[in-house]
């Protein structure tokens, strides 16, 4: 427990609060984006924003894996799950995400589709081995943290000769998403979103290392500090970003030295490179079509590709116009700017993806901030 509680010590947080307050320049503002939903959650749970000076603002980024999946691809997964011969397996959060016309995988299950929830991707292989008469499809989603598991799954399926198993691959890559935010008109032209620096993700970086961030720290002149998930980690990273901005530097620094190296997990990267490849373009919820931002299955492993096996068609859909998830994912709006927040849209009956996952900004606001919002409002 030392490596958990030690990073939640209140006295050290008080000290970091004092250090940050002493180091910020009162003449300027610091807009820092935490990319990862895990950080959003830690920031709200521990009230980190309350420990920061008023001119240090946190902007919530798009790093919630189920939030950024395009509705069109979720629709395709629901259509697949509705086939009589298919058992669809995915991570728990994914099942509740609303698709077109407020359908979801969970509602499809209630209507008779065989949809299973898995904690580990490997459970999908166990199900496939136990039910040779069923077509078992793993609905793979997420950033670089879950991608190596999917690659491993495909290699295992090949080794075990599981002919009734395939993967609907929807993995996306983090650096492309960060770059798209920096390239977005809101940041570049309209000046509506200001991002001076990034708190880099913990687990994604454990896999890919700190090297991939070096390009845009340099190219876009924005500092990146990779931070651990605990509140002291986040505060220390904020202090490091404030220092870089004060000194006019834009480098990649690593606060999470206990989990992240410059090279990352090379074995996991090799597995991914063996089985998966970049797609030319991928649609993201909230960010639109982004070039080379997601992964598909290589032709050599095509027999395990559900898109080939079932000739999956992805059809364009219109989002619910009132739902502000796309703008919230880009950091342009806050959950409380959305008329549906805590009215029509709640964690019990979500309309937008940001309200579903524990890592979504709306869910974090609802869980930890609702009481204070009401008291204030």
């Amino acid at each position: 427990m030392r490596y958990i509680r030690g990073f939640r010590e209140g006295a050290a947080a008080a000290a970091l609060k004092a250090l940050i307050a002493a180091e910020v320049d009162p003449q300027r503002e610091y807009h820092l984006m935490e990319f990862c939903g895990g950080h959003t959650h830690a920031i709200f749970r521990y009230g980190v924003e309350d420990l920061l000076p008023d001119n240090v603002r946190l902007v919530h980024g798009p790093g919630c894996p189920v939030c950024v999946l395009a509705v069109s691809r979720l629709d395709a997964a629901i259509e697949l799950a509705s086939r009589k011969d298919v058992t669809l397996v995915s991570y728990g959060d994914m099942l509740r995400v609303p698709a077109s016309r407020r359908k979801s995988l969970l509602k499809a299950r209630a209507q008779g589709a065989d949809v299973r929830m898995a904690y580990s991707a490997l459970e999908a292989l166990t199900i496939a081995a136990a039910h040779p008469d069923r077509q078992v499809v793993f609905f793979a989603i997420g950033f670089e943290t879950t991608t190596p598991a999917t690659a491993h799954l495909i290699l295992e399926a090949q080794r075990l000769g599981l002919r009734n198993f395939s993967v609907y691959c929807n993995h996306v890559v983090t650096p492309a998403a960060i770059q798209s935010i920096l390239d977005s008109p809101e940041v570049r032209e309209w000046g509506r979103v200001r991002v001076d620096g990034f708190i880099g993700p913990s687990h994604v970086s454990a896999v890919i290392g700190s090297r991939p961030y070096e390009y845009f720290a340099e190219e876009y002149q924005r500092p990146v500090v990779i931070a651990g998930f605990e509140p002291l980690d986040v505060m220390q990273a904020i202090r490091m970003l404030v220092r870089q901005l004060n000194e006019g530097r834009a480098c990649v620094e690593n606060q999470f030295t206990r989990g992240v190296s410059r090279d990352g997990n090379v074995k996991a990267q090799r597995l991914v490179a063996e089985v998966l490849e970049l797609r030319r373009s991928v649609e993201w919820r909230g960010l639109g079509e982004l070039p080379y931002s997601g992964l598909g299955i290589k032709a050599a492993y095509g027999e395990f590709d559900a898109e080939r096996r079932f000739a999956i068609e992805v059809r364009a859909v219109a989002e619910n116009a009132a739902c502000q998830c796309p703008a919230i994912i880009r950091g342009v709006k806050k959950p409380t700017d959305c008329a549906l927040f805590d009215t029509a849209c709640t964690p019990r009956d979500p309309i937008g993806s940001c309200m579903v996952s524990a890592e979504g900004a709306c869910a974090a606001y609802y869980k930890y901030r609702r009481g204070t919002l009401r008291a204030a409002g």
Binding site: I4, E9, A14, Y91, P148
Partner: protein
Amino acid sequence: MCLAVPARVVALLGDQWVETEVGGIRSRVSVALLDEVVLGDYLIVHAGFAITRLDVEEAEKSLALFDEIAARLGTTDALHPRLP
């Protein structure tokens, strides 16, 4: 999916599986993404897979730094986790 804490390896189960423990809770974890894992290693686990080994030496350095600034400046307890 991302909300994880370091888990200590308490048993090697063979064939790329280990048993881990956090605060008395034991789990079966795949170590297929790591090179050799030994008893007592701390692993960062994500959706059933260990994605990296915790560098204990670096963790101790970070904790020592926090202890040092807390001793120098920390007068009160600033963290009050909100319970959902």
